[in-house]
Subunit: 411 residues, 2 copies
């Protein structure tokens, strides 16, 4: 048996990942930028809006002309014109006058507020009564009120959501510098693995789950799963396929070669790759202890356990953060998609080890949703399919009692 | 002004959407099935595993041969052979004997449990001492323990996650029947809208935000945004583009033509489309009241407000659920991505109206995260960019007090 030189804690692995440089940037069209991570800060090249706009339908006025106006003593203003949508207001507004204006219309010079149409009454088409005063700036989006020129809008590494794409459109930014999407080769191996389309699987064999499930997880993390291959469990085959994979990908994820069993090929494969360096050999995590991380030049080489549930969870625990890192983000277990729930059962763990425990969620309870730990026989893939998320028990915690509030990460 | 015939509540609109039939099914390869929604239930065509497997490295035994074994009085068993990974075990296990077996190895006939290697000691290579008893079935994944043949694994409409793809791979399902991805045409209009790449935007005009932001949101909901076009604000142009869009898409989303202002083109455009039917004309929601939903044949025609923040929120509130529905799912505001937070400020609302209120989230507090409502001047797109999610205030609630626990939906 290969001895683990120095098993690392899960947070130590994340720290190592944070030292890895991101991939180069590329420029994409704004219509393709959704979901991509920015390769540089974005500062506003102009102000939005670049003219004072009405935020309500009504009348553009000088606010002071309405001071003291009320139902019983309305202010009387002369209609001086009408603002047309999308057109610069014609002429300036003089005191005692008002311009009809639609939502989004440009305030005429001299106007500093908009009276909502609800608080006006048109008399004979020429005059209006204003029954409520407005303050300067009321119902007006002034120049730069939305975005100020020169303001930093988004920081490097930020992943663009639909509304962020909208902000870039508002600023006229049509090309966006983003980190290149990582290209990942997914390789699985193991004497017991047969192709997924095998008609009748012989006794002792199982179908190749990992190339499919890992590729799906890698793609859902915003990367591209390129090569996907089941490789015979021989050192020569694994080295040859890994070399081929390195040529066209930024990362190789090999599952099934790193068991502590009779053969521990993954490290030996890594040693045969150009400019190789072993960074991690074993992690104090359950499931999935025998995890290997190496570099070949600047390319990442992961060895994951072959058992599918362990492979998927360690992929989520480490490979996904490494993909985030390659896109200029922190390697972390995202807190954003996590939510609070109450454990409805004790969740045992062991000091010094990080546990990823699948849970089902019951929302039909008063208060916080309940998290039901799914314990099952090791090796069952259906266990993950029954889970809605997982709870991370950190290495310094010896389990959680029933009733503890925990963070659930969605699967 | 067009009068709203009958403004509907937001839940009424969702009920209407639930009556719309899903798109036809198509069969995709398993490697493309991640994220897609199943067009039919999936039942297991075989059992997983289809042979009894060891879940630990150790020795396959007859459990009863270990009964009473302890450190001080170990059971003594003869090593009858070794199970090779991926190969049917050779010969049956007789009483008093054990087979060495790796994790995932096939149990030999006659064996019903596995003793972990940690609780054994090999003597002279021929015998082992077992220092702990095992129960029948211990450390064994029996036939069908993971998935039973004939069991319903996933229901129609279920969206496949990476682990679900793994389950299908385990079952040898290489082609998956899923609902076709909706193809959506995104059209924006408005006199004030200029193309996003306009160098210097004239006073009174603004760049086209909606085609970009709405398309990004539609794509992040698993649909395909095909045609994306800014159309001049004339009835003829809008009808011509909508007719063209209907030819190649399942849905048209038109923003900016449905204001209550001087022109209300969206309904008039709908009337000019073949086999058209108006389903919704106005929704009691803020932001975004002037929402229109119609059908042209079986194709959906949405009219959204032109103001970008309103367009994005109403798209999230209604268009995204309609895309879910077209993929065989319920039209609802997903609770799965929602999490609990505590309001750190009062959130006023009005009885009879559903409010979607953007919030920032502060997680650096003890207990539940805090939700900070982002109120800002209407029409600011940056308001949504500063939000991490939104809180839905239902129509029967007159706002929430500070300190109320609310559900936050991620944006």
């Amino acid at each position: 048996m290969t001895e683990f030189l120095k098993v690392k804690t899960a947070p130590e692995v994340l720290s190592i990942l944070d030292e890895i440089p991101p991939l180069p940037a590329e420029t994409v069209l704004l219509e393709q930028a959704g979901g991509r991570a920015l390769a540089s800060d974005i500062t506003a090249p102009e102000s939005v809006p670049h003219f004072a706009r009405a935020t309500m339908d009504g009348f553009a006025v000088r606010a002071r002309d309405t001071f003291g106006a009320s139902e019983s003593l309305p202010a009387l203003l002369e209609i001086a014109g009408e603002v047309t949508m999308g057109v610069a207001a014609g002429g300036a507004l003089e005191s005692g006058r008002a311009f009809a204006i639609p939502t989004g219309g440009m305030l005429p010079g001299g106007a500093d507020a908009v009276v909502m149409v609800e608080y006006t009454q048109v008399l004979d088409g020429k005059m209006i009564e204003v029954t409520r005063p407005v303050a300067p700036g009321e119902n007006v989006l002034d120049i730069g009120d939305d975005i100020r020129e020169g303001e930093t809008i988004f920081e490097k590494g930020w992943r663009l959501r639909p509304q962020d794409v909208g902000v870039l459109a508002a600023l006229g930014i049509t090309g966006v510098s983003v980190f290149r999407r990582p290209r990942v080769a997914v390789i699985s191996t193991g004497d017991e693995i047969v192709p997924v389309d095998t008609g009748t699987v012989p006794p002792g064999k199982v179908r190749d789950i990992n190339t499919f499930a890992l590729a799906a997880q890698i793609e859902s993390a915003g990367a591209v799963a390129g090569l996907r291959e089941k490789v015979p469990d021989t050192l020569e085959d694994l080295v040859a396929t890994s070399l081929r994979a390195l040529a066209g990908h930024d990362m190789v994820v090999l599952s099934g070669g790193s068991s502590v069993g009779a053969r521990d090929y993954t490290v030996r494969v890594l040693e045969r790759l150009p400019q190789s360096r072993l960074l991690v050999h074993g992690v104090a995590i359950r499931p999935g202890k025998p995890i290997i991380l190496g570099l070949s030049g600047e390319k990442l080489f992961w060895g994951l356990p072959g058992q599918p549930a362990s492979a998927l969870i360690t992929c989520r625990a480490f490979v996904v953060p490494s993909l985030e890192r390659l896109q200029g983000r922190r390697a972390e277990w995202s807190r954003q998609s996590a939510f609070r729930a109450v454990l409805n059962r004790r969740m045992p763990s062991v000091h010094g080890r990080t546990d990823f425990i699948p849970v089902a969620i019951d929302r039909n309870v008063p208060g916080l949703p309940e998290a039901l730990p799914i314990f099952g026989k090791s090796g069952a893939i259906s266990l993950l399919a029954r889970a809605e998320g997982y709870v991370i028990v950190p290495e310094h915690v010896e389990g959680y009692d029933r009733g503890t509030e925990v963070n659930v990460h969605l699967f």
